[in-house]
């Protein structure tokens, strides 16, 4: 059974990462901008 998630932030980057996990997509531009 998949876990349910409540997301709290106002950062688009995090929204993208979560969105790709939720949709189980392969990330685009992985690692770009990483510090």
């Amino acid at each position: 059974m998949r876990p349910t998630i409540l997301l709290a932030d106002d950062c688009e980057m995090l929204g993208v990462a979560i969105g790709e996990v939720i949709a189980d997509r392969q990330p685009s531009g992985e690692g770009e901008g990483r510090q």
Binding site: R2, P3, T4, I5, L6, L7, A8, D9, D10, C11, M13, L14, G15, V16, A17, I18, G19, E20, V21, I22, A23, D24, R25, P27, E30, G31, G33, R34, Q35
Partner: protein, 134 residues
């Protein structure tokens, strides 16, 4: 196949507290720095409230002291932004299994001994994170 189900997205700590009490998610992924109430304070209040949700907290800085504080107070995961998808997926899957997801800049220490005691350590190939497995 999806990794998880996103119930909702909120933008401040007060809203997070209110919605978490209603939705009762398995996992809360929260920025530490948020308007009204920060993520750490929300986690403390929700734990006092008795919500069993597990927390993955995020911050923009690889601050070992902050990460140690978060983990010692019961966070199940800690991530540094910008978060890449593979790290987010790994954190969610790890926390969903009941394990603890810790970035590699934190070395298990006395402050989080209750958390790390008896756990086995495994590092990712690139050294970005450490998994503490129960």
């Amino acid at each position: 196949m999806r990794t998880a189900n996103l119930l909702e997205r909120v933008k401040d700590g007060s809203e997070l507290f209110a919605r978490a009490c209603v939705l009762r998610p398995d996992i809360i992924v929260s920025d530490i720095s948020m308007p009204v109430m920060n993520g750490l304070d929300v986690m403390r209040r929700l734990k006092e409230y008795g919500l069993p949700a597990r927390f993955i907290l995020l911050t923009g800085h690889a601050d070992e002291q902050l990460a140690t504080e978060a983990l010692s107070e019961g966070a199940a995961g800690f991530l540094v932004k910008p978060v890449v998808t593979d790290d987010m997926r790994e954190a969610i899957q790890t926390v969903a299994k009941g394990d603890v997801y810790v970035p590699s800049f934190i070395q298990p220490r006395r402050e989080i001994a209750p958390l790390t005691c008896g756990l086995e350590h495994a590092s990712s190939a690139d050294g970005r994170w450490i998994l503490l497995s129960r």
